[in-house]
């Protein structure tokens, strides 16, 4: 016959199993910090060297060829930053999962990814369409908005805090779609500063 201590241990173990098997807990706070740093660097390069700072929603009224050349560079830059950020996140998650004695690719990782991917892909396609129609001023607000939606959605399958991060990004996206002239600034705050603060918070809360 089991005694009380055994039952309490059973319950603790069940709780941990339920959490581990339903939530992806290998996300690293450091990855958030790094993503923020990349974003800050990218925004600076886009602003300083590519003169990217859309102040109106529609750019097609004045259509200097140089604008599209610069825009192409900005898109390329954005893709490089995205790859760097995702690469760092995967690498650090892999290390964290390894340390916890788990595999990185498991049902929780799969669920997290699917729930993030749907809003992100929908948003990405919409942004491409808007860009092709010359609505360049909406790129920054909409990336914030859809990224926020993706995070909020993914929050169910990982740390609760990801939901709050998502809400902040959604808020920033909405505000910046009104104040389009500050789009790049909001984008820098959302992807740069907020990521770094969030990453530091998560690192101290869960990784020490």
């Amino acid at each position: 016959m089991k005694v009380e201590q055994d039952y309490i241990r059973d319950i603790a173990e069940m709780r941990s199993l339920m959490e581990r098997s339903s939530k992806f807990l290998s996300l690293s706070g450091l990855a958030g910090i790094m993503a923020g740093v990349y974003a800050l660097a990218g925004a600076y390069i886009a602003y300083r060297f590519f003169n990217f700072n859309p102040d109106k929603i529609v750019y097609s009224i004045v259509k200097p060829e140089s604008l599209y050349a610069d825009l192409f560079k900005v898109v390329l830059l954005a893709i490089i930053i995205l790859i760097l950020a995702i690469g760092t996140a995967i690498f650090l998650s892999f290390k964290k999962a390894h340390k916890r004695g788990e595999k990185l690719w498991n049902p929780t990782a799969r669920r997290l990814l699917i729930h993030m991917a749907i809003p992100l892909i929908a948003g990405g396609l919409l942004i491409l369409i808007l860009t092709s129609k010359g609505l360049i001023g909406l790129i920054a607000p909409f990336t914030l908005l859809f990224y926020g939606l993706a995070l909020y959605n993914a929050g169910k399958f990982t740390y609760e805090e990801v939901k709050s991060l998502g809400l902040i990004e959604i808020g920033l996206g909405l505000i910046s779609s009104y104040f389009v002239e500050y789009g790049l600034l909001f984008w820098t705050v959302g992807f740069g500063v907020v990521h770094i603060i969030y990453g530091i918070y998560m690192h101290y809360r869960y990784e020490r």
Binding site: E4, D10, I11, E13, L17, M18
Partner: protein, 99 residues
Amino acid sequence: MKIVTDHLHKAFESRIRLGIMSVLAVNDMLDFNTLKDYLDVTDGNLASHLKALEKEAFIDVKKSFIGRKPNTKYFMTELGKKAFTDHLKALEKLIKSQQ
């Protein structure tokens, strides 16, 4: 010491079985290898515990093929859900009564 055992099901005496039920309670369906990873047990050990739960009709299997490889997925039955919830309630009562 008086222990309430009304709803503490025999099948859940084993911690591995309890673990299987916990994991399946929060996942629709899981295959053998994933269960093994979560529970950290050997193949034979896990298989025998799964058999036992299957015999109680607490879990069921769904067999399919991925390409040519057979793939068996396990899920919790309605009966299993009820038994698991009752077990949790009984545990709760037990611990409360001893405080």
